[in-house]
Amino acid sequence: MSIEVRLHGTLAATRPGLRAGDPFPVELSGDATVADLVAALTLAPEDAHLVIVNGRILHDRAAVLAEGDRVGLFPPTGGG
């Protein structure tokens, strides 16, 4: 299945030429989880501190993804 991924903050810098927040597709097997996606992106599990799937914040890394999901990954971040 194809997942629409956006990387943010320092995570975007792991892919040369990628602007934070610009979407790109990632192909995964049908039953892939959030943790599988993080691994496929060669990110350490703790780097993806915040995972937002279709606008919902997901804390469960074992959650199964679905075709066409919009996934945003963020390192630990704060502001105000």
Binding site: R6, H8, I52, I57, G72, P76, G78, G79
Partner: protein, 581 residues
């Protein structure tokens, strides 16, 4: 000896008095809200002679404690008609603390027209005419004042801009950052207009010859300071080259956009298609491209180890403005439909120059666009409208009085405000806890009153679902804890570290004990926070506010917000439960 400095603008006299016993441990917001509660008539006209503006550095301000150079400014707000506390990072509070001045009270009102400047130093306080500085941009005024009074290493400056001189309700109180830029604001609630109504253009503080801030119990202070410094150095958000230091607060743009809570085009949508172009990461990348180097952020005030304050550079690499905070970036960006950072930077710069609150002005422009004054996304026209405010034209004076006045003028019923103050950059329909905080805060819609975004979005101090409505307790506890932090003199951003690292919070309390000689524990944090909120809510009640003022605007109950297509569905009784009224 700790003193209160009282400046009477009716006859331009100044006098010192000892801090009364009941105020012995009060500083920062605790002090300003206490003095407003005790000395200002809740029914007075905010721009009349009976209002006061109070300044107070925090409990540990002026010591070696990290990230503690905040000053609290209080008074009755011309924007909301209720009590106002707004605070800013600045070296000025540090200098006041070293001079032993726990509170500065500006009262009275001159009968004659004109502006004056207050100079405070170790010899005392002096007031001199300042008409020469009026009507000018703050980027002209600040360098001139530094040149006149001995340079930015020697003095710090507080001033109002043209907006405050013209008594506009969106006028903030400006402080300089460490480079002397007029860029740090106690922005919200129009306290700049109150200073303008008193003819006080500027305050200059020189602490030459002052002694160190006395410590009642040095070992306890040192122990607390170290615990807090360790927590700030360790936490991923506050550590050097961590999130705040690299990308500034504007790193939140992409997060709120993904979460569907980034208010867009006057709160019509929760996502902005141009978010990635204006986010903190885009600021970092743009600066790198334009200056040829990675630009990390700086400390807005002395002793800050978090260092979140950014700059934006022009195509030729020269500096355009500082600081494009998340709130300002959003206010002129997503909320006005503008996706061009150079235009956002110019709007930010003009607010800094004219002495305006960026949140209120961005919200006002959005309401004006809804009213047909201009078209969302037309950054060139937005800049022209800002100049109208700076020139004080009739249109400019309408805009400078904020979103509610502008909505009324142009027949707009969708004005996202509470108690007359425009909402900041988090959508209540998508994030329920912050919506409850906006509703019940005595300050009007204010994200810094209780930053529930930490657990609701950022996964700091817990992991809560933003759409879950059961947030009354959260909204209460965060407001109490925040009122305490606002009294210590620390920047609220220490919260990211101390909410996650318990020893950091303990350290914050121990530092206060070290300065004051108290024996506070963590239980006292909530007790003091409650006391402050009670004073503020008391003032508002006596000013005529009722439970009906603790509500969000009507349109949010009926208009679903994309992408979640949720409405504001928190029952009024739930809001009344926050403070148990």
């Amino acid at each position: 000896m700790e003193r209160i400095l009282r400046v009477n603008m009716t006859d331009r006299t100044a006098s010192f008095e000892p801090v009364p016993e009941t105020y012995r441990n009060r500083a920062g917001r605790w002090m300003t809200s206490s003095l407003v509660h005790d000395e200002v008539s809740p029914t007075c006209h905010p721009l009349g002679p009976n209002n006061k503006v109070i300044f107070s550095p925090g409990i540990v301000t002026g010591t070696a404690s990290p990230t503690s150079s905040r000053i609290s400014v209080g008074g009755k707000s011309p924007l909301t008609g209720g009590i106002k506390e707004s605070n800013s990072g600045t070296g000025l509070g540090r200098r006041l603390a070293r001079l032993g001045i726990r509170a500065l009270v500006i009262e009275g009102q001159p009968k004659e027209k004109g502006f004056w400047l207050l100079k405070i130093d170790a010899k005392g306080a002096a007031i001199e005419p300042a008409d020469a500085w009026a009507g000018k941009r703050l980027s002209e005024v600040y360098p001139a004042l530094f040149a006149r009074f001995g340079g930015k290493g020697k003095v710090d400056v507080c001033s109002i801009g043209i907006a405050g001189e013209l008594r506009m309700a969106a006028a903030g109180v400006c402080f300089n950052d460490q480079e002397g830029r007029p860029s740090r604001y106690a922005g919200r609630g129009g306290l700049g207009a109150v200073l303008g109504s008193k003819g006080l253009k500027a305050i200059v503080v020189d602490d030459s010859g002052a002694k160190e801030v006395p410590l009642a119990d040095k070992p306890t202070f040192e122990q607390g300071r170290k615990k807090l410094a360790d927590a700030l150095g360790e936490h991923a958000i506050t550590k050097p080259k961590g999130a705040l230091n690299s990308y500034g607060t504007a790193v939140l743009v992409n997060i709120l956009n993904e979460a569907g809570g980034l208010p867009t085009r006057n709160f019509h949508e929760g996502r902005f298609e141009g978010a990635a172009k204006i986010a903190g990461e885009a600021i970092f990348a743009g600066n790198k491209e334009r200056t040829g180097a990675e630009v990390y952020n700086h400390a807005c005030s002395p002793g800050c180890v978090i260092r979140c304050s950014n700059t934006w550079h022009r195509p030729d690499g020269s500096e355009h403005t500082s600081c494009i905070e998340y709130e300002s970036d959003w206010a002129f960006g997503a909320n006005c439909g503008i996706d061009n950072l150079d235009q956002i930077a110019e709007l930010n710069l003009l607010c800094n120059d004219f002495g305006l609150d960026t949140i209120e002005i961005g919200g006002t422009l959005a309401v004006a666009a809804e009213g047909g004054v201009w078209r969302f996304g037309d950054g060139v026209r937005a800049i022209e409208l800002l100049h109208e405010i700076g020139k004080g034209t009739p249109l400019g004076r309408i805009l400078g009085n904020g979103a509610v006045v502008t909505g009324r003028t142009f027949g707009v019923c969708r004005v996202p405000h509470v108690k007359g103050q425009n909402m900041p950059a988090y959508e209540p329909r998508a994030i329920k806890g912050i919506g409850m905080t906006y509703a019940v805060s005595p300050m009007g819609a204010d994200h810094t009153a209780g930053y529930t975004i930490a657990p609701e979005i950022l996964g700091v101090s817990g992991k809560l679902d933003p759409l879950n409505p059961d947030k009354a307790e959260l909204a209460r506890n965060f407001q109490y804890a925040t009122a305490f932090v606002d009294s210590t003199g620390h920047c609220l951003f220490i919260a990211f570290a101390i909410l996650d690292i318990a020893s950091g919070f303990e350290g914050t309390v121990e530092e206060c004990n070290g300065v004051l000689g108290t024996a506070w524990t963590m239980a006292d944090v909530a007790r003091i926070g409650k006391e402050i909120l009670d004073l503020e809510r008391d003032f508002n009640r006596d000013a005529g506010f009722t439970a009906q003022d603790d509500r969000l605007p009507e349109f949010m109950r009926s208009e679903p917000l994309p992408p979640h297509n949720t409405v504001w569905d928190i029952a009024d009784v739930e809001l009344d439960r926050v403070f148990g009224a």
